[in-house]
């Protein structure tokens, strides 16, 4: 089966300009060689801390930023180099849901117009036909079609995220890229949106690239999980393997740091020292060696590559046992 999305060695470097002549004085290695694929109807969770490049991956996949190099295959076609016009039919296949439901909806458009706009842009439906489709989408995401004429400020955060999801569904995409779709929501509302996303996947066979920093949410929704650190994937596996049998020390530390809502569980936290280094000057060798509890001399010289340990379980570490 052809993957809905296949990303090969994706890189996105941003030049840093400074001085009077705005000369390029450095590069931010936001994404530095990322590969993964997503099968139809599956969810890949992409996790990592702020600045690890996970949102840049999402933007590059959507061609909201042009990748520096690498290939982005949507159902087998590389879209990384297509022109704007050539890209259009592929845009219909993939839609995005953003983190902030307050800034990602145009405050001057009614909710119905927001959801219906993709239909007009792509010439799918107009007039009464479009309105009927929008009403159906509203019902699908748990909003009342009677609310179509309301404006975004009349909705709560959770409802706004439902509007974003309805807009993303309008063109029957195969893939939805969701960048932290629930992290701005309160927990009781978060559960509503997570359940909605999972129901939609079950009913329509959608694939998700689900970007989040909350590992518990990712464990709940994803089939596969990739962990990023400073622009690279350090470990990728199916969900059960990654959460039960993580081999990369960063994945282990990340899991250990998540507060678990169970006061009876007394576990020893494995605390990481220090902060994430700047992606402008990633450390030589393994980027994680400055914080790694088990690093040896080799780690600061030699960059480890992603190696397959078991079927489908890859990790980039010289020392990972497994």
């Amino acid at each position: 089966m052809i993957p809905v999305l296949q990303v090969e060695d994706l890189k996105k470097h941003y030049p840093v300009k400074s001085g009077f002549l705005r000369r390029t004085t450095g590069q931010v290695y936001a994404v530095d060689g990322v590969s993964f694929s997503i099968a139809p109807g599956q969810t890949l969770g992409l996790v990592g801390e702020s600045g690890c490049g996970k949102s840049t991956v999402a933007r590059a996949v959507m061609r909201l930023v042009a990748p520096t190099s690498g290939r982005v295959l949507v159902e087998g076609t590389d879209i990384a180099t297509l022109s704007k016009a050539e890209l259009r039919p592929y845009r219909r296949q993939m839609q995005m849901v953003f983190q902030d439901p307050f800034s990602s909806l145009n405050p001057r458009m009614s909710a119905g117009d927001i959801v219906g706009e993709p239909l007009l842009v792509h010439g799918v439906a107009t007039g009464a036909q479009a309105r009927a489709r929008v009403a159906a989408l509203f019902a699908q995401v748990g909003l009342r079609p009677a609310q179509m004429d309301n404006f975004p400020h009349q909705f709560s955060g959770g409802q706004r995220q439902r509007i974003s999801i309805a807009r993303a569904l309008a063109l029957n995409p195969r893939l939805i890229v969701a960048d932290e779709p629930v992290s701005a929501l309160d927990v009781s509302i978060q559960a509503q949106v997570i359940n909605l996303l999972m129901d939609l996947q079950r009913d329509q066979g959608l694939a998700y690239l689900f970007i989040a920093h909350d590992l518990a949410v990712v464990e709940h929704i994803a089939h596969h999980v990739a962990v990023m650190y400073l622009g690279r994937i350090v470990e990728i596996a199916d969900k059960v393997t990654l959460f039960r049998n993580p081999v990369h020390p960063y994945t282990r530390a990340l899991l250990s740091a998540v507060p678990v809502p169970n006061p009876k569980l007394k576990r020893k936290k494995q605390l990481l020292e220090g902060d994430v280094p700047s992606p402008m000057r990633p450390p030589p060798g393994c980027a994680f060696h400055t914080r790694c509890p088990i690093a040896v001399a080799r780690c600061s010289v030699d960059a480890p590559v992603l190696k397959e340990r078991d079927a489908g379980h890859l990790a980039a570490c010289h020392l990972a046992d497994g």
Binding site: V258, P261, P263, K264
Partner: protein, 330 residues
């Protein structure tokens, strides 16, 4: 007065006068912070937890806000009855606060060291040099590497985690009896959050400070606090020890909240199942229904719930709840 109480809040109500009407942010709130404990106040946005923190520090912006009733007794002394000058002497001294966003609560044009020293000089009779030494000592205490050098740096030169450490250093510089931490780790990444929570707990044990931890994260509550107050729409609806609350949540809202969070099954051993949803949303504080504020979202609600606010009753030892049906369920 309870001997091991350090901070006693009784009948606290804070309101805001807004163009859209009277907003009852905190209503009739009572709780006791015991000496040396970590008490968590948990709830979703708009439940009044942050306004509670600001009310205790008398930092509610007035107007539009006003504390309309209640007492806040710090070791028996009512902070709401003293003058503003006396209150200034309490803030940062006997009682201090750390905020969610360290970048906006630090002064960007003063060095970290100067900001700590300022607090010390306000409350202690010390020379500049002594205050500076104390600042460096505090930075060492919060485990900032190279403290003498870092003291001369500005907030923008520090990372988010380091800034929060600096905030903690300021808050603890005068050995407060009570530390109010309002979402201290919400803006931080999870590995940094773990560092900061670990630091707060260690310092709390070293110094014996009592901590009021305001948070929305039940995972953080479970791992750091001994007791917990759950707030909904401006009121306390449940209070218990952490163990009891997670094992026997009595209020339907608490019950729903615990069911709506994914549990990281791989670690907690829980079985991943469909998340429980709490239908609907939090009512507007400017237009609260007459009875129980949770009634519209509650599957146990009846006419009495919609008419009368349920009183807080102790249903289990040290476990109080405000629900007409709490005894019947669970």
């Amino acid at each position: 007065m309870n001997a091991d109480a350090i901070l006693e809040v009784e009948g606290l109500s804070t309101v805001f006068f807004t163009p859209s009407g009277l907003v009852r942010a905190v209503q009739d709130l009572s709780f006791t912070l015991r000496r040396g404990e970590v008490l968590a106040v948990v709830g979703e946005s708009g439940c009044g937890k942050s306004i509670t923190a600001l009310s205790l520090m008398r930092l509610v912006p007035t107007p539009p806000g006003r504390i309309v009733s209640g007492t806040v007794k710090l070791e028996g002394r009512d902070l709401l009855a003293i003058s503003e000058a006396e209150m200034r002497d309490v803030r940062g001294n006997a009682m201090s606060m750390i905020f969610q966003e360290p970048m906006t609560s630090l002064n960007p044009v003063l060095t970290i060291g100067a900001q700590i020293a300022e607090t010390v000089r306000l409350h202690r009779r010390v020379t500049r040099a002594q205050a500076w030494d104390r600042a460096v000592e505090m930075l060492r205490l919060v485990r900032i590497p190279e403290p003498a050098q870092r003291a001369r740096e500005y907030p923008h030169q520090l990372s988010g985690g380091m800034r929060q450490r600096a905030m903690i250093a300021i808050a603890l510089a005068c050995d407060p009896q009570v530390l109010i931490a309002d979402e201290p780790t919400t803006a931080l990444d999870v590995t940094i959050q773990a560092q900061i929570l670990d630091l707060i707990l260690q310092l709390q044990q070293q110094t014996g400070t009592s901590v009021l931890l305001i948070t929305h994260d039940l995972g953080v509550v479970a791992e750091t606090a001994q007791r917990v107050v759950v707030m909904y729409a401006g009121r306390k609806i449940e209070e218990a020890t952490v163990e009891d609350l997670f094992e026997f949540p009595l209020h339907p809202y608490t019950h729903g909240l615990l069911g709506s969070i994914p549990h990281l099954a791989a670690i907690s051993g829980a079985v991943a199942e469909r998340l429980q949803e709490i239908p609907g949303m939090v009512p507007a504080l400017s237009n609260l229904p007459p009875g129980c504020a949770f009634a519209a979202r509650c599957d146990r609600a009846d006419d009495r719930c919609r008419a009368d606010v349920p009183p807080l009753v102790e249903l289990r030892p040290d476990h109080i709840v405000a629900c007409w049906h709490a005894g019947a369920a669970s």
